[in-house]
Symmetry: C2
Subunit: 629 residues, 2 copies
């Protein structure tokens, strides 16, 4: 297939400098696995030494889980027109269970490829799709169940560990590895993530690696309760807005700040072409809701949807490389009337499309009746299910009701069917739920869906803050992540009000990185606290630049500090704007340490013991020795 | 005392229009109590009717707890130079247990009053201070323990109910009053807040009404676990910045967005004068940390602090009208060395000042040794204690350690002493605590401090997000509020980096209103869900303006909506930018309702029952009847 001439992105959309600038004091490093082509990307932040009266102490570098892909690697030349290197291509080829097709096998995909009207919009280096050979199943779950550890599995094991073993072996990290005991509510998080553990979790359905064979550009990642909590960022144009270049830039921007996967929720024009541009340039898994595009194909009339149109859409998108599909197959006819008395009815777009279809035809949806055929498509490309919660609550009042939990049971039944096909599954969850009712969602999901990974939108813990729903939902997300949710779908400040722009994407992603990290700390993920400890030590020692650079958003931290104390000298100053130069709490603590040394360990233990007994006279000593204050 | 000529604020500081503009579609209303001078302010939001095929449905107005004071009442003429009306003046006078002094009884207060150098900065209408008559105790706790229900107590009872009884009696509110069952972890929240309940809670120390007799301008509010969760906003100049007008404006701005109390943490120049301006114009309780000012008086040298200087500062501030004092009397000498091995030592400013003093003198602090004398001062003006957590953790690693919990025990012992004097007390709490360790803080506080109200700073649930610590802490705040914390001290995006400006104050306050409201919903505070329900109904029905106006920040909601769909016509449009005009989930739900009506209640109950049994065939009916889709 020859490259289609393209003048669209070339003219309009080199990425902004801000989107691809390397992070300050950071280097892209790669940890190599058992074979040289398993190169796991990480970001390493170099810190300055601690200088005090006692001399110079070296602060070792901190490794950060890195979702930004080659965009932040100065050694890689980015060319959006060509797309990223297909790093998984040889892994897929080696398995010798796929074949290259002669071209797109979906009617729509073929038509778009040959449509001269869209030629100017089209990505120029479209790869011919591949597919499982007849009778073969190319899903990671299928390999896992046969005991095969794929390169993808080894890749994610290394990635999840984030050099934990190396740190444990290095005495410089001893204090930094200090971490509180977690409360994981029955999760099975191991002390070290091995490739075999990854395989086992995938085999039993507790985790997924979304990795379509037609998306070889991804750096594999894993979604499961016993791994780091992940976040998803949504983007996509709509009927009232548009712009391919803008959406590609938003994708790169989203992963820069930490999105682990991206969902392309486009509903406007040129959905097919937009998706191709995003996929070819995306180092993270891409999810979609295929029913959105199917609906466009019938001009927005839900009742005109057919299995054939939907099936063609699945194949079209699977051959482009979409890694997971949201499919609302649990919206059954009998659940629909249960939403009638809700305050906000059915708010999921997919859910309401299917409800409308079911009512119009008075029969179960083709997503449900053709579910096994959908599984056949999924396993031929390794597309993962994200079983959609079409009946999720759209407000607090509707939380945890019969419609929502009825659908959840059906999603569990579908999970079992998908697993019979060795198709990977995650389960979507709410939505809007008050704090005290969040845990019930997690508990029911684990029980009804057999521990398949849970993937929730928030939940928002109140309805009264339009404009701040990244925060209302970030609170719920941190809690449900702690309880066991594997991936948190971000919500931006524009939720309920409009489409997110770049600022909103950044705000949404950072908020969700906070929620996900708070969850990891709370569930006790090994090594999660290293970054907190390193940043806090830098903060205490007035190593301002280190504090900024270890943060989730170094640019903003520096910018805020500059507002009050712009001079570069203040970045090493032993005071801050809150207290001023003469009055600094952190400075005083050094005196405390000097004093404690005059006491010694035994006396301090005696004090602690005495406190426990609530009956101690202070061990009087050291005042004479301690003459410095 | 004659008014000092003042040309400072007159020239430079009328309030900005944005700070005092009434909220859209809102009216300031007053609910009158048992006597005409108990007039409890509330904000009433008028909603538009719902128009559909079925006709017009009236949406009744929604009452919002209102902290903004007279500033949003168009009927009140605001004059910063004169200050607010002293609405409690007659209540205090009627009790006939106070006397007017001849002038400030603190040396410093007197000196500042007569200092010609500060004349131009000085508030012009300084009231002569009053004080309890010899042998009298004017604390709300003292009255409560004698069985007296003060006007302040009745005021807060009406305020907490927020017209709940009126709504319950009005059929228009039936659906809006729907609310999920809370989980209050052993709190004793009544179905209706009566003045007697308020009295009882204050008598037993479970709640406080901070209400200095020299701050008659306040609209009384209550802080306690069995009431609405409150939030505090901090402001104040520092040695590196300044500006009285700016701080007054920040105070008005903070209460506009919902701050229930304000702490003036000024450490820079003209602290005394700044405080006077703030107090005279503040309709909410004002808290301070007197040790900050005492330290200024000894030029920042902690070891030079004395009981006499501190005592004079307490009297100075009590006679100005400060409603609560943070006093770090729990920093005992024996706890200090327990902080030596911490990652971030002692981060509380007050705590580190006292630690430095204790070490320098090798004796317990004058806050501890003179605690009963402090109680004598507090009860002569009704200043409440906010017993400071000088040893709170400054990072996750230091959370819940021996130093922190040792101090908490001491705060409990001091609480008992204060209560022997009938002095009102709340207890300050952390700080930085990972999610899974937050509840231990609340449980220990309730046990060690005998259920005195807990007042926490966040806590931040991770250290890695400088620039976003309103969010890291908002997550912790929502959780600890749910567990029983009575007041949440806000954190702004500038935390750890710089001083908050007006934007930061707004962001911090709104974030904490979200956290506090999420807590109220979770603990099941009666009527808390009404606003959520009304807003969600508006959202569902595309009443955009109503959705904005019911939100915590109507301006921002409208502004965000305008970014995508600016035309005024879109504010009534039955679609939004997310889905476009042809494809709207909320629109479809009306069809579902029409369908459910064809089924009837019995069939729907049968479906629910069948779901529970997991063995139902869908009740086939209605497809013929239902011909509209």
């Amino acid at each position: 297939m020859s490259a289609v001439p393209n003048d669209f992105l070339a003219k309009t959309a080199g990425l902004s400098e801000s989107v691809i600038a390397p992070f300050p004091a950071s280097a892209k490093i790669y940890q190599t696995g058992s074979r040289p082509d398993i190169r796991v990307p990480m970001r390493e932040v170099t810190l300055t030494p601690t200088r005090s009266d006692r001399g110079v102490e070296i602060n070792p570098p901190i490794t950060i889980y890195d979702t930004s892909g080659p965009y932040t690697d100065p050694a890689v030349k980015i060319d959006l027109l060509k797309g990223l290197e297909p790093l998984r291509e040889s892994w897929i080829a080696e398995r010798a269970d796929t074949e290259t097709l002669s071209g797109p096998s979906s009617d729509y995909g073929l038509a778009r490829l040959n449509d001269p009207k869209t030629a100017g919009l089209r990505f120029g280096h479209i790869r011919t799709p591949i597919k499982a050979k007849a009778g073969k199943n190319v899903s990671q779950m299928h390999y896992a169940r046969q005991g095969i550890i794929t390169p993808e599995m080894e890749f994610v094991a290394i990635r999840e560990n984030n050099r934990l073993q190396e740190m444990r072996a290095d005495p410089r990290y001893k204090a930094l590895l200090r971490q509180h005991k977690g409360e994981s509510f029955g999760a099975s998080i191991p002390d070290v993530i091995t490739p075999e553990f990854v395989r086992d979790e995938i085999a039993r359905g507790r985790a997924i690696i979304p990795a379509n064979i037609n998306h070889p550009e991804i750096e594999p990642m894993i979604i499961g309760r016993n791994f780091r909590t992940k976040i998803n960022g949504n983007l996509g144009n709509s009927a009232t807005t548009s712009g391919i270049a803008e959406e590609v830039e938003k994708m790169v921007w989203g992963i820069r700040w930490g999105a682990d996967t991206i969902m392309d929720l486009s509903t406007g024009k040129n959905i097919h072409e937009t998706r191709e541009w995003i996929l070819r340039n995306a180092p993270v898994p891409i999810g979609t809701v295929p029913i959105y595009q199917a609906l466009e194909k019938v001009n927005g009339k839900a009742e005109d949807l057919t299995w054939e149109i939907f099936r063609d859409t699945l194949i079209e998108q699977a051959e482009q490389g979409v890694d997971y599909f949201t499919i609302h197959a649990g919206v059954l006819l009998r659940y629909v009337p249960l939403t009638a008395e809700r305050v906000t009815g059915i708010v999921s777009r997919g859910g309401s499309i299917m409800a409308k279809w079911c009512l119009a035809h008075h029969q179960e949806s083709f997503l449900y009746t053709h579910f096994e055929e959908i599984c056949e498509i999924m396993k031929a490309y390794d597309v993962s299910f994200s079983l959609g919660d079409g009946l999720r609550p759209g407000c607090l009042a509707d939380a945890n009701d019969a419609a929502q939990f009825g659908e959840l049971q059906t999603l569990g039944e579908l999970t079992k069917i998908a697993w019979e096909h060795d198709v990977q599954v995650m389960i979507e969850g709410p939505g809007h739920v008050p704090l005290q009712m969040i845990k019930e969602n997690m508990d029911k999901e684990l029980a009804d869906c057999y521990e398949a990974p849970f993937y929730t939108l928030g939940p928002l813990v109140t309805d009264i803050a339009p404009g701040y729903d990244h925060i209302t939902s970030g609170i719920g997300a941190a809690n449900i992540g702690w309880y066991g949710t594997a991936m948190l779908c971000y919500v931006t400040p524009k939720e309920h009000l409009g489409l997110p722009d770049k600022d909103d994407v950044r705000e949404g992603v950072i908020t969700y990185k906070i929620a996900a990290h708070a969850s990891d700390l709370a569930k006790g993920f090994p090594g999660a606290q290293v970054r907190d400890n390193a940043l806090s030590k830098a903060r205490f020692e007035f190593r301002w630049a280190d504090q900024f650079n270890l943060g989730l958003d170094p640019e903003r931290a520096r910018e805020y500090h500059d507002e009050t104390l712009p001079a570069e000298a203040h970045k090493v100053a032993h005071f801050c704007s809150m207290c001023g130069p003469h009055f600094c709490s952190m400075k005083i603590t050094q005196d405390v340490r000097d004093y404690a040394e005059t006491l010694g360990v035994d006396e301090i233990e005696a004090i602690k013991k005495g406190m426990e007994e609530k009956s101690i006279e202070f061990v009087k000593k050291g005042a004479e020795v301690y003459g410095r204050i």
